[in-house]
């Protein structure tokens, strides 16, 4: 049972943060696409902006790893 709970906690840590990243990226992505239609020279900046929320899922991943590996 304890193992199941640990796995579930790790899944939640990465799952929720992945959803949050996806939501943020969808908003930034659509705004970025709009900006690119007007100013194609912003492509580099928009790529970086889209990559910014990925920190959340990376942090989620780190937490999940710690949950799974801590004894």
């Amino acid at each position: 049972m304890e193992k199941v709970l640990i796995a579930f906690a790790a899944a939640l840590a990465i799952g929720i943060s992945a959803l949050a990243t996806a939501w943020a990226q969808s908003r930034i992505g659509s705004a970025g696409a709009g900006a690119l239609a007007e100013k194609p020279e912003l492509s580099g900046t928009v790529i970086i902006l889209v990559a910014i929320p990925e920190t959340m899922v990376i942090l989620g991943f780190v937490i999940a790893t710690i949950i799974l590996t801590t004894k």
Partner: protein
């Protein structure tokens, strides 16, 4: 590197201004300053004013601008064909061309109008030709007489023919004939033959019913139907000959005159750009003064050139740079050949201030390392190496693609290097095929050591950034800010040590001194960095954790390569296995190029540069051709 600039003032006799500007433009290293703040002393202000052209120069400028417009108008009539280059001295022929240009415009305009009229006539005749070809077999050699009249029609809907017949029957009491035939363009052509007495009524009725009537041009009147088609064909041929003759004339004119006009236009542009530049110059009663910025290393060169050309009549004075000038010094980036391609990645960032740092060398050093750490597969690295060599060789003339190739070349070398350390060659294929062993760490299983490694890289990178921020602060003489950066470094180190002590990596007896250090440094941080400084510190810690992506993205890459090989093995068929493995490895390579590139860039732009790069620099825009 941000090039060191000198603040200079060039002064000389007014009549030498144009030549001086010419020299500065040829040199292409002088940024003319229009703002006099910091250049003119308070006591001098009343004697110096903006330069204005005298009456003679002004009228010359207007004449040149007018001639430039006329040449453009003339060029709008000429065909775009390659012509020879003229080497004639433009200044000698300007006056002659000024007299000729109106006549030339009129001549070319006449040819163009003639061509347009001929084109219009040809298109109309082509329409009649289609119609005539369709009805000729219907009428044959029927001659036009005084009593009989022919009316041409275009019938859009064939189903309307019975309706037209009923209409004609009603109008002519059945004394008519309607012939129809399919024309070559697909439309239905028709001819109504009836007595002349009904013609007017018939035309009116057709117009009311919206049935388009074809009226033949006046030149065809009086000709028999059989002769009309021949006449149209002959005329179309004649028009084509006339048009090609007009084209030949225009081409001949272009080949003869365009090179000369082009040479003069270039010369006019050259003169006008000098005259426009005078708006950025200042004057006293007898002299002109140009204020501006020039790379410090170019000052002696310019001084020498001015001396050689004007024998002391134009002088250069290097002025003292004040603290408030630092905000306005234009920024020019210059890097050694290795770092130059990386400027491509810096261009999407705002320009750093003069007192800040050029981010290019840092990107040039760390970006390929991070890329290699993330991709970390010698097989993929070799493929990318091949791709980069291809890009460099194939696109020699396209600088951007060549630069991308050069960046990829360095990144792929690091990927091969880290691939050897991780023991990866298309995942674990290297181990299976030729017994390749892990030299350092196996990423697939050693998740926690890799996490520590990534965080250590992050901590080092962020602290380098903070240290550069400290140096930048000293350079700008912002001592408080510099001190805050230094305290940040010590606090981060203390926190890392405290965490290590908590985890048992550092002996427990160090915990108390470390925590005491944190307690002493925190108020100092508040004093130097303000109330938001602790928040900044927490942000820096978050930034360090963000480097965990080096491990995370790398892990996904290695797992995908592992899955590709496992799936290939599970198919049990060599061909199917090769296809599955090939496709998955291809997908991994594509991801392996984009993911590490984007994440390494992000680590630089967001985590690293925010610590020491001060955006808002003014671009160095030298006066040049």
């Amino acid at each position: 590197m941000i090039v060191k600039m000198s603040k200079v003032e060039i002064a000389g006799l007014k009549e030498l201004l144009e030549d001086t500007l010419d020299l500065l433009r040829d040199m292409g290293l002088f940024h003319i300053e229009t703002e006099t703040m910091g250049f003119i002393e308070k006591a001098e202000e009343e004697y110096i004013e903006t330069f204005s052209l005298d009456q003679k120069a002004l009228s010359k400028k207007l004449l040149l601008e007018d001639l430039r417009l006329r040449i453009d108008e003339l060029f709008s009539y000429l065909p775009a064909v390659p012509t020879r280059k003229s080497y004639i001295e433009p200044e000698d022929v300007v006056e002659i061309l000024r007299g000729l240009v109106s006549r030339h415009i009129k001549y070319c305009e006449g040819l163009k109008n003639k061509k347009e009229l001929l084109q219009k006539e040809a298109s109309e005749l082509s329409r009649y030709k289609v119609f005539m070809e369709a009805i000729e077999p219907l009428i044959g050699t029927l001659e036009k007489t005084e009593e009989i009249d022919f009316t041409g029609l275009t019938i859009k809907d064939p189903e309307s023919i019975p309706h037209i017949r009923r209409l004609l029957f009603r109008l002519t009491d059945g004394r008519y004939e309607l012939f129809t035939n399919r024309a070559s363009d697909g439309t239905l052509a028709g001819v109504i033959v009836t007595e002349r007495a009904f013609s007017e009524t018939l035309r009116k009725a057709l117009s009311e019913e919206r049935i388009p009537e074809i009226s033949l041009p006046a030149s065809l009147e009086g000709l028999a139907f059989s002769e009309r088609l021949k006449w149209i064909k002959d005329r179309i041929e004649e028009i084509s000959k006339e048009m090609s003759s007009a084209d030949d004339e225009l081409l001949k004119f272009t080949m003869r005159w365009r090179p000369l006009y082009e040479r003069v236009r270039e010369w006019i542009d050259d003169r006008l750009s000098l005259m426009r530049a005078t708006a950025r110059v200042f004057e006293t009663r007898l002299c002109f003064i140009i204020y501006g910025w020039i790379p410090a290393e170019a000052v002696p060169v310019l001084e020498m050139k001015l001396k050689e050309r004007f024998s002391g009549a134009v002088t250069l004075v290097e002025k003292e740079m004040y603290e408030e000038d630092l905000e306005r010094v234009p920024v020019m980036l210059k890097n050694p050949p290795y770092f130059e391609p990386f400027e491509l990645m810096v261009r999407i960032l705002p320009l750093p201030r003069y007192t800040s740092f050029d981010p290019t060398p840092f990107i040039g050093i760390f970006f390929p390392i991070f890329f290699g750490m993330i991709l970390g597969d010698s097989g993929y690295g070799m493929l990318l190496l091949g791709l980069s060599v291809f890009l460099i060789k194939r696109f020699r003339s396209k600088k951007t693609i060549k630069d991308i190739g050069k960046i990829l070349l360095v990144c792929s070398i690091y990927s091969v290097f880290f691939g050897i350390l991780y023991g990866e060659f298309f995942g674990e294929l290297g181990h299976e095929l030729f017994g390749m062993e892990t030299l350092c760490v196996e990423r697939r299983t050693a998740v926690i050591p890799m996490l520590y490694f990534a965080l250590t890289v992050g901590a080092s990178h962020v602290m380098i950034g903070l240290f550069l921020g400290f140096i930048g602060g000293l350079k700008r003489r912002a001592k408080k800010e510099a001190l805050a950066r230094l305290i940040d470094i010590f606090l981060i180190l203390s926190i890392i040590l405290a965490v290590s002590a908590f985890c048992g990596i550092v002996p427990e007896r160090f915990t108390t001194p470390i925590l005491s250090l944190v307690l002493i440094l925190t108020p100092l941080l508040l004093l130097t960095g303000g109330l938001l400084a602790p928040l900044e510190l927490m942000k820096s810690i978050g930034n360090i954790i963000s480097y965990a992506r080096i491990m995370a993205i790398g892990l996904t890459s290695v797992l995908l390569a592992f899955v590709a090989n496992r799936l290939a093995g599970m198919t049990g068929n060599i061909i199917a296995g090769a296809v599955v493995a090939g496709l998955l490895h291809l997908l991994n390579i594509i991801l392996g190029v984009f993911s590490p590139a984007i994440h390494s860039m992000r680590l630089h732009y967001v985590e690293f540069f925010s610590k020491f790069i001060e955006p808002g620099g003014r671009r160095f825009e030298p006066f040049k051709k």
